[in-house]
């Protein structure tokens, strides 16, 4: 299974670099530069301590990168008429599925980690006071874990959408729309919280009072459960007998 997984990852990595979505990836890299350089340069020392900015990065960046890179791996196989040939190999369904998921997930997570790292260097340079500063552990550790879990969740949702989509572009648009839903839900939650506590500032103060590690642990636990559920669904859908009839 490991050798099969490595074979699929090897192929997916090359397809990602040389594939038709190269232009999209370049645009993505340009936007990463904005997140990694311009923002920390503007915020200075706050970059390392502001939990809102880093949580936005750890949620949005992996999700966006995965939303762009997952569809070519699944809908792309069908669009380019290579899926039947892939299914006719001896590769197990699970090796194909997870091999195709790992590359976008790693790409999304590495992009996020790179932005956080470069941002740290830029923020230090912009607000240098003689000693280097680092992220607060209660911010950076959950960020890295949440980023990974968000990438996995987006990829698993992306598989389901990509298998139904006729074209890569359709799948990318659909996944992007799906990503809006949790973001809108979060916004709604903050709005309700603000209404209940008498304003955004008060809501933030209320949140500050809560143990950060505890909140992170709860969020991570929920995301783990969501990821496992989504992966089980993706695994059930990604079966040869089903896929071959979709061609």
């Amino acid at each position: 299974m490991i050798a099969d997984l490595r074979a699929v990852i090897w192929k997916e990595w090359r397809s990602l670099i040389h594939g038709q979505n190269r232009r999209q990836l370049l645009i993505m890299l340009a936007s990463l530069a904005f997140w990694a350089v311009w923002l920390p340069f503007q915020t200075g020392a706050d970059w390392m301590t502001d939990g809102v900015i880093s949580i936005l990065i750890s949620v949005l960046l992996p999700a966006l990168v995965v939303a762009i890179t997952v569809p070519p791996a699944f809908a792309g196989e069908r669009e380019r008429k290579t899926l039947a040939t892939l299914l006719a190999t001896r590769l197990p369904d699970q090796a194909i599925l997870y091999g195709k998921l790992i590359v976008p997930v790693v790409a999304g997570w590495v992009a996020m980690a790179a932005v956080l790292l470069v941002g740290l260097l830029v923020a230090n340079a912009a607000s240098w006071d003689g000693s280097p500063r680092f992220y607060d552990p209660v911010v950076i550790v959950p960020d890295l874990l949440i980023g990974l879990l968000v990438a996995v969740a987006t990829a698993a949702v992306g598989v389901g959408i990509s298998l139904r989509a006729r074209r890569v572009q359709d799948a990318q648009q659909m996944i992007s729309m799906m990503l809006m839903l949790p973001a809108m839900g979060l916004g709604l939650l903050l709005f309700i919280l603000a209404e209940m506590t008498g304003g955004i500032a008060d809501a933030a103060a209320q949140l500050d009072g809560i143990n950060g590690w505890l909140v992170a642990l709860v969020v991570i636990a929920i995301l783990v459960v969501v990821d496992v559920a989504l992966l089980i669904v993706a695994q059930r859908r990604f079966r040869r007998g089903r896929l071959i009839t979709l061609l």
């Binding site: 050798a3 099969d4 490595r6 074979a7 699929v8 090897w10 192929k11 090359r14 397809s15 040389h18 594939g19 038709q20 380019r80 008429k81 290579t82 039947a84 040939t85 892939l86 299914l87 006719a88 190999t89 001896r90 590769l91 197990p92 040869r240 007998g241 071959i244 009839t245």
Partner: protein
Amino acid sequence: MSDIAITTEHLTRDFESVRALDDLSLEVPAGSIFGFLGPNGSGKTTTINLLLGLFEPTGGSARVLGYDTVEAGDAIRANTGAVLHEPGVYEELTAEENLQFFGRAARMDRVAIEARSRDLLGNLGLWQRRYERVEGWSRGMRQQLALARAMLHRPRLLFLDEPTAGLDVMASADVRESLAALAESEGVTIFLTTHDMAEAERLCASVAVIRDGRLITVGNPDVLRARHGGPHLDFIGHGFSGELVARLQAHPQVVAAELTEEHLVIDLRDDISAASLVRLVVESGAEVEEVRRGQANLEEVFITLMNEAPS
């Protein structure tokens, strides 16, 4: 090793209310090229997908290289190669990377993949272009690469689903030549579906004809020609009258006589002497310039079978 590569018994597959394959029973001898012929939508691709264990039959059973298609699909796919209608090569990768991937997928080591790639691409005239991305290649070259990919892990059986469809005459000839050479040098069994009857006639030791999911006939092309497409006489000339055609149709050795412009075609019941019929035509006053005696080719047999078979 068994002499039979593929056995199907009453193999049936339904897609909701549509019966795509109906009670298919046949045997494919090992080491031969077997043609599976039929019009579009007749169940050829469904049969290949069933034989590869990609989905399960609704009824009946099949064994490929001794493996049951339902229980041992993995083993079947490990021991077979396939070119399924489309070349199925990754355009964004080079030819060498394509073979690397499919070699790794077949659990071959790097050295074995390189050695085998050199052999196959060398034989197909693609070795010098192995570092080129496939996106710039013609369909014919991609199809050649697909053949190399399918043969890479030395499969005992090769499924080819219309390998020359969409290719021009020269590219088709190249693919056919490669196919025949590979089959001979590797001793592999080939299960070939095609619309090209000349191709089937040239390559296949035996063929099966399928329509609406049902097997119509199976056998050696020569036997099928003898069984379903009898001998005929083709007269070229002028002055063939309706009265002559009527007299010929009444002749006990004539199955049918048809007049088209300057051709009078007479289908014979048996391989009889043509002399009496030639005399009859000449004595009717027709000006005969040429007489050809022949037998139906596989395409004519195929058309006859399609017209005979109930839809």
